[in-house]
């Protein structure tokens, strides 16, 4: 029995390009992926890993090298363009010209697969357009011209257009690319909400690892052209998939915090004692300056300095102990680092 | 009586000198009239109608001045026609020298072939601008025998070929110095260029009179003068008949292209012909020696009522005319059939003799026009250059 919540499925998929007789594989696979209703899936991976190609292949715009993409059991490549347009809608990174279009007209274009042969809109069409405008939160922009909008606003308009297309699956290719941080957060949050409220299957490719980890129901992590890890984001963190995918001599994925830290040339050991948020930030500051925190003092001639975090008057202070008599206290990390640098360089 | 010893010595010397000079004269004067070997003809050409050139005859040479009109300026080109081996007369620096009689000439336009034919020197043509259109049977024969080379037109003149041929003179249509000075090569190679601008004349006889220039180049003034005189007399006789005609039927000329219709202007030679033929022409008082650029709407009222339609260009029948534009069927001359085109003497290769021999024989054209517009006024009614289009 067909599973109504299974919107899109791949069988032994392998994506890539053909040019004449030459074949370029972008994802070896074989991939067996599923897009389910009500889920937000984030496609992550380093640049050049083949995210865009995979997305376009899943949307049926591009032929797979091997295998197939199915919707309701039918190969998406075999569907008519209209049928395909009623299955998957897209939001792309490219800038759209046609600046004389009003926001309403642009969203209305999303009804293309349903409108009359001259583009006439019926009752249903108008209702869906209104809903799309509201869902994307752009009611205030309805009658504005495209060329007067900011990047964030334009992106929401393109999202509204895709929503108006009323498809079970919505795909976004790096939708946060041109946006500033607040807009990025808002957009990801919006997508998460939409997935759960509209029961659509939303797939987006992004570089926003940290945001993705917070909103994605499922993550597809492309490691290189060969491997794709999939699962709940937390699972991929804990089983080391993230570390492996982004393994690089300059980068380290911190399982605990879910963040990436830049690996510095840390050669100077330092002992640290302290707890709480200030401790976390102090460790970061020390790492940034080329120190690495050790648990026990190294055996050897040189004395390892100790940084101790204390509280004084409700504010964190730092004490540098480089020997029994050599104790200094600082009220800022900058001051601490200044002296440490002098000491140990 | 001087029995001076000097005088006695001088006398025979003087006698000998006299005999000697008589003998020289005797050698110079041809024993028979052989135009090919004579270096100097005794006949002189007198220019009465042509305004574009002038010939001065001196003892041993001829001086030709050609009026050079470039835009508004007019200056004169000077040529010295010298027999071979003769010394260059002094005081003529800046004049180009042409050795006469010219034994070979290169001609670039059909009308000049016509002039050459009139002067009887087609056997001296060794080069033509284009071999595509030619009527003179003599020249066609020479082409077939390979005696005439194609040297190219205007921009396309084949300098190398011309230098190799080294003709006695190259007849062009306009001043060689004009646009680009491209003809420096030819000048450096010693090939004289002479612009034969008969097409700038505003009278039919003036146009035809340029045959006298060709005659001067070939030392055939006596023959050409006689021929031209008879042409002149015939023309004048016909013009008198035309002027005295009872009616002056109205005439339109040519065909329009899309919206533009070019009509001869009042001072052009074509209008002269019409006047001499006793025709009526709406724009005969207009200024200009070329054409008026009128639009279709301006000519239409005249064309709808005109008596005759002449010189239609490359159409050959009423069907052709309709194919150009269906509106022509409403013109009066179309309906009455009074359409005459100057293409009767078009030969098998599509070349129209009107443009060749017509230049030098305006009396034939005038006769045709009178016959067309005043039937019965002239004894014979058969046309020479014109035919009625059906």
């Amino acid at each position: 029995m067909p599973d109504p919540s299974l919107l899109l499925q791949t069988r032994d998929l392998q994506t890539g390009y053909r040019s004449g007789s030459k074949k370029t594989i972008t994802t070896k696979g074989p991939l067996n992926l599923e897009v389910r209703a009500g889920q937000l899936i984030c496609l992550l991976g380093p640049n050049g890993a083949g995210k865009s190609t995979l997305l376009r292949t899943l949307a049926g715009l591009h032929a797979p090298l091997e295998g197939r993409v199915e919707s309701n059991g039918a190969d998406v490549r075999q569907l008519t363009p209209t049928q395909r347009a009623r299955t998957v809608s897209l939001v792309l990174t490219e800038r759209v010209g046609a600046y004389q279009l009003t926001v309403y007209s642009l969203v209305a274009l999303g009804r293309y697969p349903y409108s009359g042969w001259m583009g006439g809109l019926g009752e249903t069409d108008r209702t869906v357009i209104e809903w799309a405008i509201e869902a994307a939160g752009i009611q205030a922009l309805r009658d504005r011209k495209l060329f007067t909008l900011s990047d964030g606003e334009s992106q929401k308009v393109m999202l509204a257009r895709a929503l108006a297309q009323d498809t079970p699956v919505l795909m976004l290719d790096e939708p946060t690319a041109h946006l500033d941080l607040p807009s990025r957060i808002r957009l990801m949050r919006l997508l998460h909400q939409l997935a759960h409220q509209t029961n659509k299957g939303i797939l987006l490719s992004t570089h926003e690892l940290e945001l993705a980890l917070q909103v994605a129901d499922e993550v597809w992590l492309l490691q290189n052209r060969e491997t794709l890890h999939k699962g709940a984001p937390e699972d991929l963190v804990l089983n080391g998939a993230f570390e492996e995918a982004f393994a690089h001599e300059d980068i380290r994925f911190d399982k605990q915090t879910g963040t990436f830290s830049i690996q510095h040339d840390n050669r100077k050991p330092v002992l640290f004692a302290g707890e709480g948020p200030a401790a976390w930030w102090t460790r970061r500051a020390l790492q940034r300056n080329g120190f690495f925190v050790v648990e026990t003092a190294a055996a050897g001639a040189e004395l390892t300095p100790l940084v101790r975090l204390i509280e004084r008057g409700g504010q964190p202070h730092w004490r540098l102990e480089s020997g029994a008599e050599d104790i200094q206290e600082f009220d800022s990390i900058a001051a601490l680092l200044f002296v440490l640098d002098q000491r140990l360089s | 009586m001087y029995k001076n010893s000097n005088l006695r010595f001088l006398f025979p010397v003087i006698v000998i000198l006299l005999v000697f000079s008589c003998g020289q004269h005797g050698e110079k004067r041809p024993a028979e009239v052989n135009t090919d070997s004579s270096s100097f003809s005794s006949a002189k050409a007198v220019i009465k109608y042509a305004k574009g050139f002038h010939i001065d005859y001196h003892d041993h040479y001829k001086e030709v001045s050609i009026l050079n009109r470039t835009g508004d300026k007019t200056d004169t080109l000077h040529y010295l026609l010298l027999p071979e081996g003769a010394a260059m007369p002094s005081g003529h620096s800046g004049a180009q020298v042409i050795t006469i009689p010219v034994k070979s000439l290169v001609v670039l336009s059909s009308s000049h072939v016509g002039l050459a034919e009139f002067a009887g020197v087609t056997d001296r043509i060794t080069g033509l601008g284009s071999l595509k259109y030619i009527n003179s049977p003599q020249v066609r024969q020479r082409i077939k025998a390979g005696a005439v080379k194609e040297v190219g037109l205007d921009n396309d003149l084949n300098d190398e070929l011309l230098v190799a041929m080294h003709p006695g003179v190259l007849m062009t249509m306009s001043n060689p110095d004009a646009a680009t000075g491209k003809n420096k090569t030819l000048a450096a190679a010693g090939i004289p260029l002479i612009p034969v601008a008969e097409w700038l004349e505003t009278t039919p006889l003036g146009r035809a009179e340029w045959v006298k220039l060709v005659a001067a180049l070939a030392n055939r003034e006596d023959i050409v003068n006689a021929k031209f005189d008879s042409v002149e007399q015939e023309y004048k006789k016909l013009a008198a008949i035309g002027a005295g005609a009872a009616t002056h039927p109205s005439v339109i000329i040519g065909m329009p292209y899309k919206g533009s219709w070019f009509m001869p202007a009042g001072e052009s030679y074509m209008v002269q012909l019409l006047n001499d033929a006793g025709a009526g022409y709406r724009w005969k008082d207009s200024k200009g020696t070329g054409s008026l650029s009128l639009n279709f709407e301006t000519v239409a009222p005249e064309a709808l009522k005109a008596d005759y339609w002449l010189n239609l260009g490359t159409v050959d029948s009423k069907a052709d005319i309709v194919a150009r534009d269906t509106r022509f069927t409403q013109f009066a001359p179309f309906r009455t059939g009074a359409i005459y085109n100057n293409t009767l003497r078009t030969n098998d290769i599509g070349s129209n003799d009107y443009w060749e021999s017509g230049t030098a024989n305006p009396q034939l054209i005038l006769a045709d026009l009178i016959r067309i517009m005043h039937p019965g006024l002239l004894p014979k009614d058969s046309l020479y250059y014109y035919k009625q289009l059906k």
Binding site: L90, L106, F147 | F296, A300, K305, D325
Partner: protein
């Protein structure tokens, strides 16, 4: 500018159009009183109170010319609109695919050196001559290039490539024509140059009928593909994701645009400027990107412009008229420059 609905603006333009048409018919080298013009147009009885010449002039010269202006104005503007949308380039115009160059090639072939063979062949074997020959040659030339472009469009995935190739085709044909010009006699070159100047006169009777039919066909195709054109405004990727078949869309647009541009060039010679300027003027006037409105609006604006230019071309001399190409450029350029300068945002295409 007051905010008027598109319908109101369209109606307003239609009225202006009628006025312009009447003006064009009333003005000419021969002074005909307005009353008589109306009489000739609208009264069916053949009244002898009006000179036959005036009847001829109005019916056979002015009315066909005005009709030609209407058809050419519509066709050129809509063709330009399609090209600007398809290539998303505000500088595109009907000649961008090389179609008009192809038409010029056909005409050059029968008018210039080496073409006399083609001309003679056509006259002798096919029995076509005169202006019909020129028109047929132009159509053949345009058609040939159109086929070439269609062939290439099937194999190219990118519209920008098409644009470049179209421009290259235009260059090649222009070069070939230049070679022929170099080797031609002055009279032939002059005839060809006269053709290049463009002319609205001379399309009458059967030719006008054919011209009208082809133009209406092209315009209908363009209007009926409004939906496709709208989708293409977002670019091919989005258009494809919305269900548009890009190959088919390109085919239809190229066909209709070529039909319009090719036939106008064949019957009137190459008329420039209208195709590139009118879509911009129309977009500014109507402030919309919807092609369902833009196509008819461009027709109206284009026709108005061309009729106006035609009236102007009669003014200089009583007896002569300036070629239409010169007027369209002289009038049109300042208009477009002014309109674009008033735009605060350069991006408003």
């Amino acid at each position: 500018m007051p905010v008027l609905s598109p319908k109101v603006r369209l109606t307003g333009l239609l009225l202006l159009l009628l006025l312009a048409f009447l003006l064009d018919i009333s003005v000419g080298s021969v002074k005909i009183p307005l009353r008589d013009v109306f009489h000739i147009l609208f009264s069916s009885s053949s009244s002898s109170s009006i000179e036959d010449t005036w009847k001829f002039i109005v019916e056979k010269i002015r009315v066909p010319k005005a009709c030609t202006a209407v058809l050419a104005g519509c066709g050129l503007s809509v063709s330009g609109l399609q090209m600007q949308t398809l290539f998303r380039n505000p500088l595109a115009d009907p000649s961008v695919l090389g179609i008009t160059a192809g038409a010029s090639l056909g005409v050059a072939m029968v008018m210039l050196a080496g073409g006399s063979i083609a001309t003679l062949f056509a006259i002798r074997e096919l029995g076509i001559s005169g202006s019909l020959l020129i028109t047929v040659a132009a159509c053949l030339g345009a058609g040939l290039i159109m086929l070439l472009v269609l062939l290439l469009s099937g194999r190219l995935r990118d519209n920008v490539l098409m644009l470049i190739i179209g421009i290259m085709i235009g260059s090649i044909t222009t070069s070939i024509i230049s070679i022929w010009q170099y080797f031609s006699a002055p009279e032939e070159v002059k005839d060809y140059l006269l053709w290049l100047f463009g002319s609205l006169g001379g399309v009458t009777g059967g030719q006008l009928l054919i011209f009208g039919t082809v133009t209406i066909l092209g315009l209908s195709m363009a209007w009926l593909s409004s939906k496709m054109l709208d989708a293409l405004l977002l670019g091919e990727n989005y258009a494809r994701s919305m269900g548009l078949n890009p190959q088919r869309a390109r085919l239809i647009i190229i066909c209709s645009s070529s039909l319009l541009a090719g036939s106008i060039t064949a019957f009137c010679g190459p008329i420039g400027f209208v195709g590139i300027a009118v879509p911009h003027i129309t977009r500014q006037l109507f402030r919309t990107s919807s092609h369902r409105i833009l196509v008819p609006a461009c027709c109206l604006v284009g026709t108005l412009l061309l009729l106006f230019c035609d009236v102007l071309s009669q003014l200089p001399g009583n007896q002569t008229a300036l070629p239409i190409n010169i007027i369209t450029a002289l009038i049109g350029s300042p208009v477009v420059i002014t309109l674009l300068l008033r735009q605060k945002n350069i991006n408003a295409f």
